[in-house]
Symmetry: C2
């Protein structure tokens, strides 16, 4: 009975592996994407606008709600710098879906975010929502953001 | 002089082709994406919720602003059906960036949208904004939406 069980376990392991790779396209590239995504969040946590903008491709854009698109390095940097001026600002996100193409040159991360800051009266404003980030592998092998877009789960104007 | 000129032209043609394919990843897949995107917009224009939802993958999601994510066929269909109930509703979008991975299994469209409807008083409410749609090639060769997300360019609550 031992051999068939072993075979069954190996078959199951192969089936799970195949299913996982079929789902994600390129697991190695997806892992690189997750790493770039974590590093990008760390750049925001450190409130370093230059560093945060360095993760966005030269022609990349950030699409924030209720604002025109911020495209290109100067606009992306300004958006980050403006955000870092908010008192006690906190931004974090959790990727719930990360996939890369089989060719490992294009991928995306998607998930939920949490954002908060203190308004002029000292009251904490809390927001939470969802996002999609499209990443493209650059000539130097690094992953950069081509498009990043997010919106709130909360009813309009009651982001509290 | 004729041969060198011909060679120069061929070299230029190759250089242009290589540059174009380097930029877009997979032009054939990107063209298929544009076609799927146009057909999806036509489904919305015809106000057919079943048809509109059929372009979204089984585990796909639409991320609308100020609302929770609509994930899966029933939620996506309901979101479309609710939208089609708005008086004189119009939705159109223009992809300004369409790229597919070299492997032709993953891609995205991004651009601007225009949305309008009549409120209960008969006043036309106009919105415009930006979006990102991630598409994935399915086992049957069709392209389906994995994630679609959009937000307004207009200031909050003043969507005129």
């Amino acid at each position: 009975m031992k051999m068939p069980q072993t075979f069954a376990l190996i078959s199951l392991a192969i089936a799970v592996t195949v299913a996982a790779s079929a789902q994600t396209g390129n697991t190695k590239a997806a892992e690189a994407l997750r790493k770039a995504d974590r590093e990008w969040m760390a750049a925001y946590a450190s409130k370093d606008a230059d560093k945060a903008a360095s993760f966005v491709a030269a022609d990349g854009a950030i699409y924030a709600p209720n604002a025109p698109a911020a495209q290109g390095d100067a606009a992306v940097k300004k958006m980050a710098a403006d955000m870092f001026k908010l008192p006690d600002v906190k931004l974090s996100w959790t990727p719930t879906l990360v996939e890369a193409a089989k060719s490992g040159d294009l991928g995306f991360t998607s998930g939920t975010y949490e954002f908060s800051f203190k308004d002029p009266s000292g009251k904490t404003i809390d927001d939470k929502g969802k996002y999609v980030t499209v990443w493209k592998k650059q000539a130097d092998g690094s992953w950069k953001v081509v498009r990043d877009i997010f919106n709130s789960d909360l009813p309009s104007q009651s982001a509290q």
